[in-house]
Assembly symmetry: C2
Homo-oligomer: 187 residues x 2
DNA sequence: ATAACGATAATGAACGTTCATTCATTTTGG
DNA sequence: CCAAAATGAATGAACGTTCATTATCGTTAT
């Protein structure tokens, strides 16, 4: 399935670099190094191509987010792992976040895929927070209130690096991570 | 300039509701209650229409963000004001955020307008953080590290309400706001 | 080993549709 | 009555999709 990947990759790159306008099937085909008609051997039409790209990337994101994950780890170790994985992933492949956000904002996709994204791929994340609450370590707030204050800062900060608003600095990055870890705890 | 506004409004609504596909000039015109050709009396072409919509909304956002702002207020009062204004604005007009994000992600716009957004409209925000640092109240980190941990949580949390991940709850909202205020301070 | 064959994959020109834009004509309002 | 505004049918370019044709490659027959 080499060509399928090439098509998905080309679409990803073009979306990230050019946005929604100017990614014609012809251009995708050229970028992937194939003929326009060939795309239709692998994808029904443009809409399903985009939709499958979204699924593809979501799966990638879930994988990198939980790289090195183990139930043996302490809550704090788990948190540092999650935060770092997320932060580094955004920096390593900025296109991934750009495209996922872009697609996520498309109303059609948003409704279909939101559930998938939330429930399937990121279940361990929800579970992590639930454990912290159950153990009395985290504030007993709605999980997404906790996520907003903690995990989401990794994404927000990484985005700022991409957009050149924040200059990478290992010490400050760790300070943000640690601050976000502190703030969700009861004591 | 009634019609100009009608056009901008129609474009905003359609973008928010349908995303990038299927917002033809004809549809925008119909939604605005005018003829297709009329749009070209107010905007050079589709691209500048979109671009001016972005400017228009950014200006609106800046206005609501600083509603009630006064140099008399204490840092903490200023923060609570900023956070609330931002949070409420997203809830009141979700389309605004949806569209601004969508447009911001378009690479062409992103480069042109990023500077405008950052430097002009949100100068007082930067200034607020700089004051906190200078007064020794906030951590002496890069401003955008502080923003990530504090101001940005208002946007992130508001988005979660729109996407039905977080159920509105005044007490928890205030807890998040206060936690984000605490975390950026030295003591 | 080579040739012949068939099936699967790939190609890209052609087609029909959509859509941004134009402009001759009509409407509006002072 | 006239200038400015508005109209919407017409235009042409761009684009998604199709499909007749060609290339590829594994299998079988010689």
């Amino acid at each position: 399935m080499d060509k399928r990947d090439a098509i998905l990759n080309a679409t990803k790159t073009l979306l990230a670099e050019r946005g929604f306008y100017g990614i014609s099937m012809k251009l995708i085909a050229d970028t992937a190094g194939i003929a326009a008609g060939t795309i239709y051997r692998y994808f029904e039409n443009k809409e399903t191509l985009i939709s499958e790209l979204y699924r593809h990337i979501t799966r990638e994101v879930a994988q990198t987010t939980f790289k090195g994950w183990s139930d043996q780890l302490s809550l704090e170790e788990k948190y540092k792992l999650l935060w770092r994985n997320t932060f580094d992933a955004v920096r390593e492949d900025p296109q991934r976040l750009a495209v996922i956000e872009m697609l996520f904002l498309q109303p059609r996709l948003a409704r279909e895929e939101a559930a998938f994204c939330d429930n399937e791929a990121f279940y361990p994340l929800m579970d992590f927070y639930q454990q912290g609450i159950d153990q009395g370590v985290f504030h007993d707030w709605q999980i997404h209130a906790l996520i907003t204050l903690s995990f989401d800062t990794a994404i927000t900060l990484a985005k700022k690096i991409i957009r050149k608003r924040f200059t990478p600095d290992e010490m400050q990055i760790n300070q943000v991570r640690d601050a976000s870890w502190l703030i969700i705890q009861k004591s």
